[in-house]
Each structure stands twice: as C-alpha cells, then as structure tokens.
Symmetry: C2
Subunit: 451 residues, 2 copies
C-alpha cells in the first residue's frame, strides 16, 4: 500500500505526471498475458533523477515499484501483482548512435525497431529482434533478456549490452560497464541486471553494441507435407555447416492464421523460414546449399525472397503469427520452451500428442534453430484446467529432456512455480539470496520469478 | 594454514595426488606475472567429486583453495597469496564435441587450442583466442573471461558459455544453464561465475557454444612510418562498415622482438594486422576494400596472406610478441587497458609520452579494434618505482577517458588496488557483498580482485 504521505512525496517528484485515476490504473494493470492487477499509481518519469527519488521513497515507505515498457511481455513481468507504483518509460526515449564507437546509447523507453532503424542510417545493425519489435521497448527487452529469430546467429539481448545505468533498490544510481567493447574489471554486474525482470534494480540507460549492417538478407520458405519432415529438415540444415541468421518453424494453424491476418491465402502443413545474411554472392551460394539440403526432406514448395520488399513481407508473416492466432480462441496459453537441438522433432511430436490427449487445440511455431519453440494452447475459458495440466506435463517433459521452461519470455508470474523444478533447490536459493542482498525490502517488482 | 587434521582429510581424498614437497610448492607458486607465493599443498583431482570433498574440507578447516590452469595469467589470478591448497586441473582434460548440438563439453584442464582443433575436425569453430592458447586452459579462460584478437568480431569467452558445473564454496555441486542455446530461467549465474577469477566457486565443467567454421581466413599486414598513422588508419578501417575478425596493432619494438624470436627480420615503426574470415569471395572483396582504406594513411608496405600457411605464420608472429619481449629486460610490467575506440590514437600518444617522462622503455601492441591495448613497461629491477608511478598515471588517465584498467587479463592481485577508482565505491561494495554471500569464510582464492 502506498500511504498518503508517500503519495505526497511522489506528487512532489512527478507533479502532474503522477496518475491515480482508474483509467490509468487499468491501462497499466496488464501485459500480453492479459493477467491484470491494477497498480495504485502510475508515474511518467522524464529522467533518472526522478526515478532515483521515487525508489528512495519506495524504500522509505516500503511499497512496490514496477518498471514498465510497452507491456508486450508474455510472462507477466510488468504486471503489478502487489499494487504499488508503476513507472512507465514512455517519456524516456532518447536515442543516440555513436557511429565511431559503434554503440547506441538509449533510454529504456526507446522502441526496439526505432533503435534498429536509427542504427541502419549509420550502416549499423542491432540484431536482437523479438517479434514484438514494433511495440516492445529496449527496457523491456533488457529486463527479460529478449530473443528473436536472429538470435540464432547473433545471440540474445545480453550479448549486446556494453554498459548500464541502474537505479539500485535504495535509490542510488550506478553506471556499470562504461560502454566499452571489452572490460573485465570485477564481477559481471551487467549480466546480473539483464534478464532480472526489474527485480534487482531499474535500468535507466543502456550502452548497446552495434555491428556493421550485413549488405543483404534473403530467406527461403519451404513448405512440407507434415511436421516431422519439416523438423527433421530443420536439424539437417543446422548440421550442414551453415549458420543461418534465422531458422524458424510455423505449423499449419499458425501459417493459416498469419495468412488471414495479412489477407493472404497460405496453406501448408508445416513451413520452415530460413534467413541468410551477408554479401550478396555469399548469401546466394548459401541459399542454394540450403535448398539442396531441404530437397532431401520432400518439401512441397520452396520459395526464395528476391528483393528487400519480399524479404520484409515474409518476416511480416512470421511476426504476425502471435497477434493473428490470439483472435482464434478466447484464451491463448503461450509457452516458450527450449530443448537441445537434436530433440526438436521429438518435442514437436510430444506437444501435439499432449494437446490431443487433453482435447485442446495447440499451435506451434518458433525459433527451431535454437530449439526454442512457442507452444500455444488455444482454449475456451472452461478448458483452463486442461491447459494448466498440459503446461505442467509439458514442462516436466522439457526438464527431463535437459531443456528449459523459458527461452526468451522470462519467468515472471506465469512460470514462477516451475522454476525450482528446473533449477533445483540450491540454485533457486542462491538466486533468492542475491535478490535479498540487493533488495532487502522486496520493493522491486515483487512477486516475480520466485513463487 | 592447513592444519594437520585437514591435511589428513585431503590425503584421504587425493592419495598420492596430494603433494607437499618443495618442488611442487614452488612450481605452483607463480603465474606469468612471476609473482610468487608458495601454497602449502598441491592436489591433482581427477573428478568433480574430489573437488567437492576438498572444498568441504577447506570450508570446515578454513583454509584457502585456489583453482589453477596453466598459470599463463597476467594479473596473478592463480597465485596463492595466502597459501592453502592449489588444485591443478592438469588431469581433468576430457573433451567431447557434440556436432549435432554444436557444443563442446569440456573439463577445465583442456588446453584452449586442443578444443579449437577438436572442434575443427567437425567443421566447427571456437572463436576465443587468447595469445597463450597453446598453453592456457579453458578453466583459466573462464576464470578470467579471456579475450583475444578474434573477440573483435566474435565476442569474449563468456559469450560462448551455455552451461557450467560449479563447486560452490561449501562444496555443493550445481549445474547451471544446461548447455542450451537459449535459456532465461532466473538470474544469469553463468556470467556471475565467468570472470570471477575463482573467487566465487570452482568451475569443473563447461558447455561451450561452437559455430560453423568460416571457410577461410586471410590477413593484411600494413606497415606504417609512425604510430599515429597506424592508429588513425585502424580507426578508419573500423568506420568503413567492415567488421574484421581481428584488428591488431604492433609497435616497432614488439615487431622487432617477435621477428627475432621467429628468426625473421622485420622492421617497421608500426604495423596493423587485420583479419577477415568467411567465404573466399567475400573475404577477398573485403580485403580489397580494407587495403583501399589503409592506402589513405601512407602505409610503407601492405602484405596479404595468400595461403593457410602464410596466415598461420602471420598470427604466430603476433602471438609470439608477449614471450619474445619478455627476454628484452628483467621485468615486464604488462597492462591491458581499454579506451573507447575513438580515443585509440590519443591513448597510444599518451603511453609513449608517459614512458618518456619516466625514462622507461615501453612496448605497445594489442587489440586495437576493441580499444584494448597491451602496454608493457620494460624495466630493470631498480626502475620498479618509476614503473609503478607510470602504471598509476596510466590508469588514472584511462579511467578519466571512460576506459577500463583491464580488457581481458582480469584484476587478480596486480590491479586490485585500482579497482575502486574505476568502479566507484558502491559498485565495488556490491561486488564484495556478492563475494561474502557466496563465500562467507573467504576460502575461494582469497586476496584477489578486492584490495
């Protein structure tokens, strides 16, 4: 509970940018999980100093403080489950590209795609590309250590962080890492904050590594008669010695839904989408080699993008799946499991069998190259229990296979109760101790990660 | 002090593989800094279980325990400054490549080059390449988060770690990360242990990410009339939109010494060594573009490697500098500072002026592409004070420029007293608190990182 006295302090910090009307409280109560807990207050900081003061107030009066980007997260990371104050970063969007240093200096409210477009103006490239990149913020990407298709070749968000400014849970501001290309002075605090879902501190600025933009990117879409052929072909491509920038899988329903969403008629039982980037000649020769590999797995059709427009269109299709399928059923229970690469075909089989057994619909797509598969149980409200059972069984199987319950969405609230079954008691305890060390009053995004 | 009772316990664990004779104690007393503190005991574990038992014994009887690879470190990380037990990993060298998963599973005693060669047999590639790769171990590389020339394009050791087995300071064994390509279940403990210099736990196994081996690698060596031309040309190459796999700088003395070491006559005032890897056509076209850029900075000579043998030779030259210059003077005070890329030419100027002012010799080479410069003050014993003064002044300047006192060698003992001036009080304190949380009895490699 934010006391009256605390509210007065906050009003002094934020003035009219502190809101407690119902419409703000509802608008900032949920994320893409649609789980909703209204905060007591929402504030729109303009600078780090204000956040530092707000956190000091939260530390003094012991109320929860939750940083929020665009609310596109899939695990409830930004949902204020224990009330308190939500800090929206929508007014902190400064963005500077330093071409000579090959870095981007961003505030957390910058939209992922904005950074990518700005970098491209300088011939530079910011690889991480979560499907929500047109809406998601860098702050959210950092909090969840976001992935995306291109992470197959380029690595995830944390691989691009060279420095962070962080407001600690007592309000002190530290600057970690200095934006240098290399730095081994002491423990790696950057990686501790990235992916910590706002539970250890609030990131207020980031120095991000950029790389030269590859001259071109082109993709193959290969359609298959069945899922097994597609998933086996995917592993064969990975073993061929070429590292695509992306290797994605889409099943029948995800293709159909995305096609309808974009006003196109697409029907295939399973599709792979494989992107190569680099010099034109090298891209073309690699695409040819991949096509040859794919042909051994009886594809129905192989399409290659031949222009930037076609390339953009095929990825628009891929990125629209998540929104498109949301319209098919009242509830989408969305998981992002990971299995070792060799177990991809087994995982896909297991998921369909599991859904069949529980008599619920399932849509499968995702980053097959990483072994990171998005499993969407599509249900009516009354099927919630069956879906929970399926998720539990899925996670149990994934953990037994040496996999992970989250590849890029984070743990948040939806996966908190499964964390320990993956990590074991000691590792979970160690993480809890780190949380307690940094945030002894448990004011930073409480109720997340740990059950 | 290791008590008699504790020794008995250790003898029970290691049998004849526990040594306390003087020759072992001296052999394991120093690293490449030549700083020497003999341990009381040296043990040669065969498996994790033995390490776990040894750490339990250390926790019970409160004596220091120091993990050691080949002792090639440049900051004293493996030097047992407070005595105790050294664990040598020379008998833990199992190495398995899983081609299908594109991972290497290694014990810490595996030599870096061994892993690279084994990966290449499967068409795979382990990029991190510290200059000591023929001797250094993966365990040491992980402890120090080692770099190397190729880190310019490929990133440092930590970017290749997908999983770790760690013996915690109470002897419990945890397995972190599962060797998956993507995994965001909880805080990033992998990055906490990598680069922690054995102060938080002992890494006993690692799952390392491998990538497809680039078909070829070729290099340009460009010689210049003076250092300023070379360093300005280096930044120009970086701004040209090409990301070389390596961009190295060598000054006159380092070239000369390395040439003599290899029995070759090489003389130039400054040289750049720039490597491009990838498809043959793409490599050749990029080399041409780089040569064009270099020509604007008045090079005396430009040489391009045209075969794998020539390529190996040019890099052998680069890697031999560190050993070669060691013979020039009784003491080599070796630093590895980092500056923002744009400040490279200024840094090189500053270093020569500083050495001139103190009347000591200096040899400069290193990873110019990363802004990571190896500064070697070459001195007689009686010049130690002048060298210390130069180091202090150098670090002060580097920190003022937004740089770092260590890019890849770690803090160890030699840089511990400067850490706080770079990080500030709060960040250093936070790291100390993490150390205390994990290792309350301060038995894991005590006396390192923090002064």
């Amino acid at each position: 509970m934010v006391s009256g006295k605390a509210k007065k302090e906050l009003a002094r910090i934020f003035g009219k940018r502190l809101k407690e009307d119902l419409s703000h409280r509802i608008a900032y109560s949920f994320d893409a999980t649609r789980i909703s807990y209204p905060p007591e207050l929402v504030a729109f900081p303009l600078k780090t100093k204000e956040i530092s003061l707000a956190v000091k107030t939260a530390a003094e009066y012991k109320f929860p403080i939750i940083a929020r980007g665009s609310g596109t997260g899939f695990s409830g990371g930004a949902v204020p489950v224990e009330g308190g104050l939500v800090l929206s970063f929508s007014k902190m969007r400064s963005l500077e590209i330093r071409k000579q240093e090959m870095i981007g200096i961003v505030e957390p409210g910058v939209i992922t795609e904005e950074l990518q477009h700005e970098a491209e103006k300088y011939g530079l490239f910011y690889p991480p590309d979560p499907a929500s990149l047109k809406n998601s913020t860098i702050g959210g990407n950092l909090a969840e250590n976001a992935g995306g298709p291109r992470c197959l070749k380029y690595g995830v968000t944390k691989n691009y962080v060279l420095g962070l400014e962080v407001v600690l849970p007592d309000g002190e501001v530290i600057s970690i890492g200095r934006g240098l290309q290399k730095n081994v002075a002491g423990y790696d605090l950057i990686s501790l904050f990235v992916g910590s879902e706002g539970t250890l501190g609030i990131i207020t600025k980031a120095y991000l590594r950029l790389v030269p933009k590859p001259p071109i990117a082109r993709s193959i879409r290969a359609d298959f008669k069945n899922v097994r052929d597609a998933s086996t072909a995917a592993t064969a491509v990975l073993y061929s010695g070429i590292l695509p920038s992306a290797l994605e899988f889409m099943d029948k329903e995800s293709l159909k839904a995305a096609g309808e969403y974009l006003g196109k008629d697409i029907s295939a039982d399973a599709s792979l989408l494989i992107q190569i980037d680099g010099d034109e000649k090298s891209v073309n020769s690699q695409l040819k080699r991949i096509a040859k590999v794919l042909k051994e797995y009886r594809p129905i059709d192989i399409l290659v993008s031949t222009s930037d427009e076609e390339e953009e269109m095929v990825w628009k299709l891929r990125r629209s799946i998540s929104s498109a399928i949301s319209k098919l059923k009242p509830i989408k229970v969305n998981e992002d499991i990971v299995v070792p690469r060799g177990k991809i075909p087994d995982a896909v089989d297991f998921i369909y069998q599991l859904a069949g057994k529980q008599s619920i619909d399932v849509i499968v797509f995702g980053h097959m190259g990483d072994g990171n598969i998005h499993v969407n149980f599509m249900i009516e409200k009354e099927q919630s229990e069956s879906a929970s059972g399926a998720v539990e069984e899925l996670f149990k199987w994934v953990i037994e296979q040496g996999g992970s319950i989250s590849g890029e969405h984070g743990i948040g609230i939806t996966k908190a109760k499964y964390l320990e079954s993956q990590l074991g008691e000691r590792q979970t305890q160690l993480m809890r101790e780190i949380k307690r060390l940094l945030d002894p009053h448990n004011i930073m995004n409480p109720g997340k990660i740990f059950s």
